[in-house]
């Protein structure tokens, strides 16, 4: 049995099939259980996938080598976000002034709160470096974490938790503050919840989706530019 699994895992196809199967099964289960909106299907799917790998005795490194083919598509998918961005250019032009002021603060806060809380609770520098890019979309965040000296695996896990937390928090806070404006909801989802938040924003509507793409990409760019600089400030890591 284990030899057969080893043979099948020699090509990326088995890993890709496992990922797709877990994704659709997670989606199905999500619908069947009528899960609330704060629990995205991806969380269910990730748990299913982890359980399947564990049950089949597949080494995570072997799985990742094959599934890397799927992650390769993250590049073109990030480029694809330029389309909704273009389609909402009118909205963005009308708001460029508040956006210019707001985005750096919001993107900075997304990193600062998490690093601050972890630092107060005594987390070591390696963990702080892995948590700092938690609100940044995966392809950019990988680069940032490597530069800061964090663990990419922990950072990716942090992305999942952050995405789920951002979707839940936006729902909660929006209801609390009485905000229904799609532009604000989209921006908050994109800035704080990266790709997972953006997927959720497209479910709310195309305007929210476009603003989430905008928030996600600008957060990514700003964090990639500023975080490595901020990291050198004394006292933060020490």
């Amino acid at each position: 049995m284990s030899e057969l699994i080893e043979h099948l895992m020699a090509t990326p196809l088995a890993a890709v099939a496992l990922t797709l199967a877990a994704y659709f099964a997670g989606d199905r289960l999500f619908r069947a259980l009528r899960a609330p909106a704060w629990c995205p299907p991806i969380l269910v799917a990730a748990l299913l996938l982890a359980a399947a790998l564990w049950l089949l005795g597949i080494d995570y490194a072997d799985y990742q080598a094959g599934a890397g083919w799927l992650m390769l598509l993250l590049g073109p998918a990030t480029v694809a976000l330029g389309l909704p961005l273009y389609q909402q250019m009118g909205h963005i032009r009308a708001l460029w002034r508040p956006l210019l002021l707001c985005l750096p603060i919001a993107a900075g806060m997304a990193a600062l709160y998490a690093v601050g809380i972890a630092w107060l609770l005594g987390a070591p520098p390696e963990i702080l470096a892995s948590l700092a890019p938690k609100s940044v979309t995966a392809p950019i965040a990988i680069g940032i974490t490597e530069r800061l000296g964090g663990s990419v695996a922990l950072m990716m896990g942090g992305l999942l938790v952050t995405g789920v937390a951002a979707i839940g928090s936006v729902g909660l806070v929006a209801r609390w503050l009485g905000i229904r404006d799609e532009r604000l909801l989209g921006l908050a989802l994109g800035i704080n919840g990266h790709a997972l938040g953006t997927v959720r924003a497209f479910e709310i509507g195309p305007t929210a989706g476009a603003f989430a793409s905008l928030g996600m990409s600008l957060t990514g760019i700003l964090t990639a530019l500023l975080l490595p600089l901020a990291w050198r400030l004394p006292g933060l890591v020490g």
Binding site: A50, A80, M89, P139, I140, V152, L159, A195, A224
Partner: protein, 124 residues
């Protein structure tokens, strides 16, 4: 095959972005550079992006699927993180709630809660 032709466009912008980022030594990822290039190109050319849309829409819909392989890794390093799990979860959950609160509050002050957009939003 408009979707495949669009896919070629997307990869093309990604590769140009990669080349620019590498040559200029920018700290941005190739994907983001490609995305900004695509946006700029669409602004300059206006319409005629049916092929790009045919490739872009399914890819955007699959974003969550595409990060799954990386995300699952966390379940295999829980042992290593045992002592730090509380700090990590508190930072992620509380940190995200606080930053969402800050973002929405700040945005509403600066952008305003537009009635027209709210009306648009209600017929989802």
């Amino acid at each position: 095959m408009p979707a495949l032709r669009g896919f070629l466009w997307l990869i093309g912008f990604l590769l140009i972005g990669d080349a620019l980022v590498t040559l200029a030594g920018l700290p941005v990822s190739a994907g983001v550079a490609g995305m900004l290039l695509l946006t700029a190109w669409l602004v300059l050319h206006g319409g005629g992006f049916d092929a790009i849309a045919a490739a872009a829409r399914p890819l955007i819909a699959a974003l969550a699927l595409l990060i799954m392989p990386g995300v699952v890794g966390i379940f295999f390093m829980l042992d290593e993180l045992a002592g730090q799990l509380v700090a990590i979860l508190a930072a992620l959950l509380l940190g995200t709630l606080l930053s969402v609160l800050t973002t929405l509050w700040l945005m509403r002050r600066l952008v305003g809660d537009d009635d027209a957009s709210t009306r648009e939003a209600t017929h989802e």
